[in-house]
């Protein structure tokens, strides 16, 4: 059955290719990948092969694009989370959309990526496409999930007004494994509460972009659901001889996000900044299970030392409003009968990036992220060698480290090396 489907797709591609050769583009890549886990030398987080086919067809006022992954994975994750996107053969639709062009208006309909923000890696205003935190690789289509949306861009004067309507809610994929027992109490999982599929739950977003005095800037607004889950616990007294227990339930809450970003350049420097205010359902900061309203901002500096060497440095902070750490801890104790580490009012992070070209065909990229409180960090070095036109070999590692209860320290067993050989083609 699977073979038949693949054959049908190939035949469709071939037919369209023959029928309309001048406006068609068929391409993609074939990639071998091996991701050995750094903590278990004999195990692979991922090992497999991917064929990605991209297909596009366009005229002067319309354009169609689709991208499809055929993955064969030899192994599922052997690290902390016993889950992967799929073991064995899977077909994954990455994108499929139609563009329509008018003089001052454009529209994109379908499964697509919409990324906002002007800083690197950390983008407070980028809240449309969910993340797949279980699938961090070098390809953006692995670690971000496409959304089915209608996007319109209206151009007037020096402005671009972008409107997005999301037709379906999709949360982040987060590696959360709740323990069966918490503080001596059995933990029972309740079914996750997803937003109801009704008109009043439609999600939408706007962004107004322009330029002033050589500064590119934009204001944005998002209304929808927080893609991060709210996890609530209820302490239940046992009946009779039955011991007390805890119930845990994941749900997704409404959120409004007001954002701003900018970028400008001067000589060999680029200055970037991005901030977003997250107005959550817990407007008064009284519900410990819902995140408080908060501000998240990033400021960054790029420096191109030479054509071959560039640096990026960023500083970011998350500030929780109407928040008192001590009372939050007390409330947790009262409600769940156990102590639990809670967020700090302010968390600060620095990120750095170095890009260096070693000769004509080799380049090195190193990205680092460090939380300033616990000094836990994430390091991603990637060495790429352009073996031939269209053929790239890349090797590197994702290395998490820090104290055991810190964000990166908790996932340090997920550290892995990777080797990828990618052949890109275009027919």
């Amino acid at each position: 059955m699977m073979r038949l489907r693949i054959l049908t797709l190939i035949l469709i591609f071939a037919f369209v290719q023959i029928s309309y050769p001048q406006n068609l583009d068929l391409g993609g890549y074939l990639k071998f990948f091996a991701h050995p886990n750094l903590n278990s030398p004999n195990g692979f987080n991922r090992l497999g092969t991917r064929l990605q086919t991209t297909f596009s067809y366009g005229t002067d006022n319309a354009f169609f694009y689709s991208s499809l992954d055929f993955n064969y994975e030899d192994t599922s994750v052997l690290g902390l989370y016993e889950e992967s996107r799929g073991k064995g053969m899977t077909i994954y639709p990455v994108e499929a959309y139609i563009d329509l062009y008018w003089t001052n208006f454009e529209m994109r309909l379908g499964k697509q990526f919409i990324f906002w923000g002007k800083t690197d890696w950390l983008n407070p205003t980028d809240n449309i496409n969910p993340w797949d935190y279980k699938n961090i690789t070098s390809e953006v289509e692995d670690y971000r999930l496409p959304v089915t949306a209608v996007k319109g861009n209206l151009y007037f004067g020096n402005f671009n007004l972008e409107s997005v309507l999301l037709l379906h809610f999709e949360p982040h994929k987060i590696p959360v494994n709740l323990p069966p027992v918490m503080g001596g109490l059995e933990l029972r999982n309740e079914p996750t509460v997803f937003p109801e599929n009704k008109l009043s739950n439609l999600q939408y977003a706007f962004r107004l972009s322009s330029q002033l005095f050589n500064v590119d800037y934009s204001f944005s607004y998002f209304h929808g659901f927080d893609r991060n889950p709210s996890l609530s616990f209820v302490f239940v007294r046992g009946l009779g001889v039955q011991p007390p227990y805890l119930t845990a339930q994941t749900s997704y809450k409404k959120i409004d996000i007001f954002g701003f970003d900018f970028v400008t350049t001067k000589d060999k420097f680029a200055f970037t900044g991005e901030a977003a205010y997250f107005l959550t359902e817990d407007k008064d900061g009284t519900d410990i299970y819902i995140k408080n309203p908060n501000l998240y901002y990033v400021v960054g500096l790029d420096y191109a030392a030479t054509d071959d060497l560039s640096f990026n440095l960023q500083f970011s902070q998350k500030i929780l409003f109407k928040y008192d750490k001590e009372s939050e801890e007390n409330e947790w104790l009262i409600r769940t009968r156990q102590a639990r580490p809670v967020d700090d009012k302010i968390t600060s992070t620095v990120t750095g990036k170095i890009q260096y070209s070693l000769g004509s065909y080799t380049s090195l990229l190193v990205i680092g992220v460090m939380n300033l409180k616990d000094k836990d960090f994430f390091l991603l070095p990637i060495l790429n060698y352009n073996f031939a036109d269209g053929v790239n070999i890349s090797a590197g590692a994702t290395w998490f480290n820090g104290p055991a209860d810190s964000p990166f320290g908790r996932i340090k067993t997920d550290s892995k090396a990777f080797l990828e050989v990618k052949y890109s083609f275009s027919l």
Partner: protein, 260 residues
Amino acid sequence: MSFVKFAFVFLLLSLITLNAQTLDGKTIMQKALNKSTWKYMQGDVELILINSQGQKRIRKIKMFSRKRNENESDMLMRFVAPPDVKNIAFLTIEHSEGDDERYLYLPALRRVKRITSSGKGGNFMSSDFTYYDIGKPKLNDWTYKRLEDEKIDGFDCYKLECLPANEQIAKDTGYRKILRWIRKDVYVTVRSQYFDKGLKEWKILEVPKIENIGGVWFQTDMIMKDVQTGHSSEMIFNNIMVNKKLPDNFFSKRFLTRLR
């Protein structure tokens, strides 16, 4: 009567010869710049990068350019091949005052990124050409001294010594001196020799092919060799179209992201 004709032709030739001999360096350069004037230009570029071991990489680029005025132009380039860089696009909006704007569209990341302007001395697409080399020089940025005429590939050429008019030009371009050979018949540069800040020979430009397209002379094949590193780059232009108007908003982030 035949003597009168002879005398007239002789006089005319003498005047032309005298004129050619008396042209100063700046006038020659001005004529050369005027011969390559256009408002819109688009074409296909094949960029061949050859390292010191002789290994080759070939990039194919679709290029669009517009001159907004004498000192400002826009350029949009989109990679066509090889497939691993296909659809990467690059937009430069030049400003006579202040920094140029540069935007890079990376289809793999689905993002447009504003990047630093590494100056006109920055390398064009990792080649041995700089942005300055592929742009149109500004007449008053340099001083010109006419040297003794020479022949290049059998063509009579003016030879000019070009020195930066000020320190900023030398800093921006990276060149302390340029020698140019300009063909007398068509006023097109067919060879250049570039010297670095220490006046050491740095790069040599050879132009094996020039073409007149729509009344404008183009160097349609250029080879730039870095004599210090042994690396060289060749740019071959095909399907050039001159003064075919593009939409006013073509040189914008909007069109940068269009895959078509």
